[in-house]
Symmetry: C2
Subunit: 352 residues, 2 copies
């Protein structure tokens, strides 16, 4: 049994298994996702179609790149792991995917991000007002899909997803607030809490909804939520490492992208908090309004010397170990949870 | 029985009855609304408190002016009219008030409105990102309150409110789109559809939720929704008349405010569509980037000569008559619906 992203996969099928599951999830959920989005009114529907990559800005049809379907795959795999029928949980998987994309639409507006999935973001094409409105409608649609689901888990799932959206908001708000503070003033604890709210909460909610749709009891639902949260934190830590040392050819991000953007990512905040000379060097580089290529290399080196890289890697390993512990509370015979484990490894192994 | 805002109130207690009901609604719903808002995280909670007028921007306590509570009063009055216990519907009333305030927060961002209820809008105080995020959290909170309600009507009410939020989005989107079109190109039908989505839908939803919480059947619920929608349209028509001819001392709006803002309100669009010489005169005034006081008077006069004022008044009367027809389908003995009628008259009598 593999427990961290740095450990090998003895079965040798983790990546293949996850990739296959993600492809099957897209195939199972996309038709329902498209039908659901079609229920949106007029221009809002058009912007949603564009955001999902199904349509060009001019309304002609597009290849489609709606993302990796990790969250809906977690829903279906969690249902499966707890002995439920994943087909019964497809509405819940659709709702989770809609909630995720609502948050992307609004995050892009708030962060003024120009691109998403290699295309111009919706707000750059349709304007800020329409992007806000489309996000609002997509959030309400996510909750409508659950509320209209005749499945007995629907009410609990609705309440849980609504609470999760509120936590996503808290995470996004904290992220924005960090941008206005000196990097040394942001503590690791604050940063981890923010990452849990912004990334962990929705992955946890996806797993919890899957458990609810399998008819699981409260303890199993909470254990599955905790599994998803910890796996989500591991995912964020790895993502932050990629943001500094990632291979641009594999990740699509330039080397040191997060440093150039002065992002207070987890390895950076850990390095700043180390009290080492390298921490002061890094803080100095962050005080400058811009970094050239040499400064970016020096900053990455400073994060490493200050222990930020090692810390993030061991934190990610630790979080994955905790995730598996939680999972084993919900699914004592972990063999039944092989899909969930494959997914967790898939999202936390992207540096290799 | 009075059916329009231009007819007298034979009982002589319509306004007093409505004012009393609104005061009682505030007293009944506010404690729950405050407790619910307290469940929001950190900064989001603070911005929500500010928006409701409970706190100043610096966090000190404020007098509080959370609006007139028309929508929650409709919920409670609808429950009462259909023989239910309004106390059982207080969560639903709270949810409706949260959904309304979510839409206000985002509308203020989108329309760049500087003031709301005589105070600086949240986005001007806390910035656009935090105002968007707080609106998102408030929308999710509205749906969470319903989803967590153990009342048997909760699931249907959640689905209905989620659908209503989507319709609000459609209305707001249409309103934004109209701003970018020449006034003559916007048809009356489009404008009425927009007003129904932006104003009527939530009033209809409030009445429908009240009916659901009284255990009413589908037909009564739909009739109550239709009552609220038509009353909402009448309300919007009157509001648009006030925006041109309202008494600034009573309404807080300057005379001709909507004309100065080049707003494509219902009387203006009706006037433009009249094909009269006054319509052309009005279109000419709207083509100018700004209007001085004399131009505003000429524009108001042109709307009147083109028939826009009479049209809006007779439409409002017509909509109120339809509203009462729908209400009588849900509550055949209209005496039981006196509170709903008083509320409908209250919101459509403000020109006198």
């Amino acid at each position: 049994m593999t427990t961290t992203h740095t450990t090998g996969d003895p079965k040798g099928d983790g990546m293949e298994g996850a990739a296959g599951l993600l492809a099957r999830t897209r195939a199972a959920v996309d038709p329902r996702l498209r039908t659901t989005v079609e229920s949106l009114p007029g221009q809002v529907r058009r912007i949603a179609r564009y955001h999902f990559g199904w349509e060009q800005a001019d309304g002609t049809s597009a290849e489609g790149n709606a993302g990796k379907a990790i969250r809906p795959a977690l829903v279906l795999a969690a249902t499966q792991a707890l002995g439920g029928d994943p087909r019964q949980a497809e509405r819940a998987a659709t709702a989770i995917e809609l909630a995720h994309n609502f948050s992307l639409l609004h995050d892009d507006v708030i962060d003024e991000d120009p691109t998403r999935r290699n295309r111009p973001t919706a707000w750059t094409v349709f304007g800020v007002p329409d992007a806000i409105i489309t996000g609002d409608a997509m959030c309400a649609l996510a909750l409508r899909v659950l509320a209209e689901d005749p499945h007995p888990a629907s009410a609990k799932a609705s309440a849980r997803l609504a609470a999760c959206v509120i936590e996503l908001c808290a995470g996004q708000q904290a992220d924005c607030a960090f941008e206005n503070r000196a990097p040394q003033d942001v503590t690791i604890e604050e940063c981890l809490t923010m990452a849990e709210a912004k990334t962990g909460a929705l992955l946890g909610c996806a797993c919890a909804l899957g458990a609810l749709y399998a008819g699981a009891g409260d303890e199993e639902v909470e254990a599955m939520d905790a599994f998803g949260r910890e796996a989500g934190l591991a995912f964020q830590l790895i993502d932050d490492l990629i943001g500094i040392w990632g291979d641009p050819a594999r990740t699509g991000k330039p080397v040191g992208a997060d440093l150039v953007a002065h992002k207070k990512s987890l390895p950076v905040v850990a390095a700043m908090a180390s009290g080492t000379p390298a921490a002061e060097e890094l803080a100095e580089l962050y005080r400058a309004p811009a970094m050239d290529a040499a400064a970016v290399r020096r900053a990455a080196d400073a994060v490493e010397r200050a222990g930020g890289r090692d810390w993030a890697q061991s934190q990610a390993a630790d979080r994955m170990a905790r995730a598996v512990d939680h999972l084993s509370r919900a699914v004592p015979e972990l063999g039944a949870a092989d899909e969930l484990l494959a997914l967790a490894e898939f999202v936390t192994r992207r540096t290799r």
